[in-house]
Symmetry: C2
Subunit: 530 residues, 2 copies
């Protein structure tokens, strides 16, 4: 497993730290930042428009600036091409207008492969062409507990297989997680309710708390150093009026999205998740989600990945602004033949972002065994889709990993690492004969991967669908994988292919593979090339 520990990035090269006039060097897909002192009057979050036009001669990128408190306005920029970039600001505030500057975008180093996008219909890749296979986890309140817990979480993540994490921007309140957070995204104003919307907490929804955002940004950069994509959940229903962030006015929702995107779109590891369980947010009409997608897409100059995660009713994932599927479904990775049907119904990369969690919660969704969650990751992988992990063990402090991080207690994480290592070696999988042999996939590498699931056979009779295209007399080496015990055992010698009439390739001499009679076994078939 490739862990991207504290890769050198351009994150420290901040414009605001350099003296004016010096030409800053920023890595490709790194982050350039320039800070300007304005002369704020009224509400600087609301009253000031600030844009900057960056150009390298060929390409022009327009970014939106933001007010960062203390009289400071900032613009951020992620250069996606190497070379010299210059910029000019445009603002309705005289002291911010017409500022110019430049930077030199230098080659990326270390584990900086750029931002992740879509490749070949069903897959992901980094901007530099490196494949990206999401092996995600879920931690709704990652940025809301306290520094010690957050640091412990980062340490755990650094030793985990996870390269994507779903986190909520807004704090969450319910059941197992009802401590009040330290920071809030809006300024708290005691004694007044500016929009008359919220009877519990009282917020000035027109002013953001920049401490909240500085903290969030620090944590997103921490994730980037670990090679982890941050699937940032912009709205969620786990509020129910407690904070009131689930029922702000539409105008506030849009203003909030624009501010978030202005601050964060230059972070290369950001993915925009419009919601967790969008359909459970009963205050929002369906058309809001389209306008959220449109707002985020319009404000983000780089086109970070966008999704809408469901409770019970899938979002319209065919919408062109949805880049990939982020689906909750508790049954789809339970058995063969299911996950592929969802893949066929859309034609976008498919991430099953909620398939129940490993844990001991009393709810069905939080009480999978480690075996079951591992099995579900394989069910997704075998059809070329991806699953997302979560852990809900009740501990002394009643805060589970999927709520607030800290440490992993389950058994699935190391098995997910074992699977990730395989997929990073073979490339993504595709069912060869997708209406028949539902456990048999062709890998990008040309290898065939077969997952036997809960069956516990004592032997496997060589059998690959004809559609794999292998000729008669081909020699094949086989490895037996115990996906639970994380062992890979090569089978001695070679197998020789022979076509049977119409649909099957068998072994010329009827040779079988001996198996231990345990469940969760897989086979990797590698054609021998001269």
């Amino acid at each position: 497993m490739k862990l991207k520990l504290f890769a050198a990035t351009a994150l420290l090269c901040l414009g605001s730290l350099l003296s004016a006039g010096a030409q800053e060097r920023v890595e490709q897909w790194g982050r350039f930042e320039a800070a300007f002192t304005g002369t704020p009057t009224g509400n600087p979050f609301n009253d000031v428009d600030l844009k900057a036009i960056f150009t390298n001669g060929n390409e022009t990128v327009k970014v939106t600036g933001f007010y960062d408190g203390n009289g400071i306005y900032k613009i951020r920029f992620m250069p996606c091409e190497q070379g010299t970039w210059t910029y000019t600001t445009v603002s309705n505030m005289k002291s911010l207008h017409g500022k110019t500057g430049s930077l030199v975008c230098v080659p990326a180093t270390g584990d900086n492969h750029g931002m992740v996008g879509v490749r070949d219909v069903y897959d992901f890749q980094y901007a530099d062409g490196t494949p990206y296979y999401p092996f995600g986890t879920t931690m709704y309140a990652f940025v809301h507990p306290d520094t010690a817990r957050e640091n412990l979480t980062l340490k755990t993540l650094s030793q985990s297989p996870f390269n994507k994490i779903r986190i909520c921007l807004f704090p969450k309140t319910y059941g197992h997680n009802n401590d009040e957070p330290r920071y809030f995204p809006f300024l708290k104003v005691e004694g007044m309710s500016p929009e008359g919307l919220n009877e519990v907490a009282v917020w000035d929804f027109t002013r953001f708390d920049t401490d909240f955002f500085h903290h969030l940004e620090r944590r997103i950069d921490d994730l980037e150093r670990l090679g982890i994509q941050c699937d940032l959940i912009l709205f969620h229903p786990y509020d129910e009026g407690h904070f009131g962030f689930d029922r702000m006015s539409h105008e506030t929702d849009i203003r909030y999205l624009k501010y978030v995107v202005a601050r964060l779109s230059s972070f290369r590891n950001i993915w925009w998740s419009m919601a967790n369980e969008y359909d459970f947010m009963r205050q929002k009409p369906l058309e809001d989600w389209y306008s959220f997608l449109e707002t985020v897409a319009a404000e983000d100059p780089y086109g970070h990945l966008r999704s809408v995660h469901n409770g019970k009713i899938y979002f319209d994932h065919h919408h062109p602004l949805v880049t990939h599927l982020s689906i909750q479904n508790e049954s789809v990775t339970d058995d063969f033949g299911r996950a592929g049907l969802v893949k066929d119904s859309y034609r976008k990369p498919l991430v099953f972002d909620e398939i129940c969690y490993e844990g001991d919660y009393p709810n069905r969704w939080g009480s999978l065994s480690g075996e079951e969650l591992t099995h579900r990751f394989w069910q997704a992988a075998i059809v070329g889709a991806y699953a997302t992990h979560g852990e809900t063990f009740e501990s002394d402090d009643h805060i589970a990993w999927t709520e607030k991080g800290a440490i992993l207690r389950g058994k699935s994480a190391p098995r997910i690492a074992f699977l990730r290592r395989l997929i990073e070696k073979t490339g993504s999988l595709k069912i060869i004969d997708n209406w028949r042999n539902l456990n048999t996939s062709l890998a990008k590498s040309g290898q065939v991967v077969i997952y036997l699931g809960r069956q516990a056979p004592k032997e496997w009779e060589f059998n690959v669908p004809t559609r794999v295209g292998w000729k008669d007399g081909m020699r094949v080496k086989i490895e037996v994988l115990d996906t639970w015990n994380m062992t890979t055992t090569p089978v001695d010698g070679e197998f020789v292919t022979q076509r049977k009439p119409k649909y099957e390739i068998c072994e010329a001499n009827g040779r079988k593979v001996k198996l231990p009679g345990r469940p969760y076994m897989a086979l990797v078939l590698t054609p021998v090339t001269e």
Copy 2:
């Protein structure tokens, strides 16, 4: 089973049979036709525009007329509201312009319930509100063999459970079906190739053969008299250049669609199926299918159902002009938990129009047992979707039911009738707890239907998901259905409900249902109301 034999319809009240000036009476959703003698010059199919504007004072419907040969131009109109309708024609041919007339639309009689549309997201209903549950069959070349065979087919259909049929407009050629048809939709012109497209047959693609269409129309009316919806396949790939109808120019495709819709949209039992296996028609770029949908939708004033049936790659069924799913998939109805995933992915009525056929063909898709095809119908029904039948037995003349009709040889048809009778009694089904109890559905009637599939248990322990909403102490009567042997056996006495913690309702006294230990059993649970 309700067979709609030779229902009295308004089809015989044709305007052309009445003397001018008499006010014709046409049933609601019946068909009005007026014929006009023109003065054709040049190509009357191409050169003459004829429209008629019908109005009843409230509503205005614009229909397109067509040339029917022998100097006769026609307009057809399906009145959807009762009362007096008047019309005026508009044409670029003087002798057809400004013609007026009227009709009185009278209440529908007999089995005339109007045309079928979508109801409540997932269901179908007739225009008068009567539910419609599609139990379809497939017969590609229904209108292409010979009169004797077609009449035999109609007789077989009249005794079958099928109320929908998929037929191809264009003739088909391959393997088991290579007799040349009697009629072709275009005029055959020996010795010239007007569009230079076709080296095998030579057609004047600008002139239609009205004999072909008269014959087709007679057969569509025959189906209507049997209460059978005609899912008319407008393009298909089973030609491969033999006739050349799979590779006409886009201009010809559109002209053909407009002519077909002008002739047939007043037939209330028409459904428009843009294609069989659209993705196998490699001559057509994807955008063609959108333009076909747009053309048909624009030309059809009544909004008949529209679908695009796939080979391997589903069409974009989310497109607003696709009214329902017509899906081919060989695995989706094979096991529990699958069909519902496709339903969740779209949110439209779902018809699995190809799930393999009962027969003895050497291909996998044509060699299901009767048990298997019946099981697949139940797999669709239990999630509130619908399946379509087909039969591919090789007989002496090598023409199977699904090619050219005649007689049914399989065992599934009477079992499909048994299922249809149940669904017409219970109303459509919906999985109660759609991620868990994948064999247990709530019917519109309030009954619970449980299908046990290939399991062959000796008893059934009372167990219904809490989400059904039944209270403790409710009394329930149970019937045991043997879906293969077509028996319904009431269980003596009543069962009393009791909730178990969180997810399940069991029987208060632990009472079980005895079962015969055979596969393909179902249970119908009926709450006892005072």
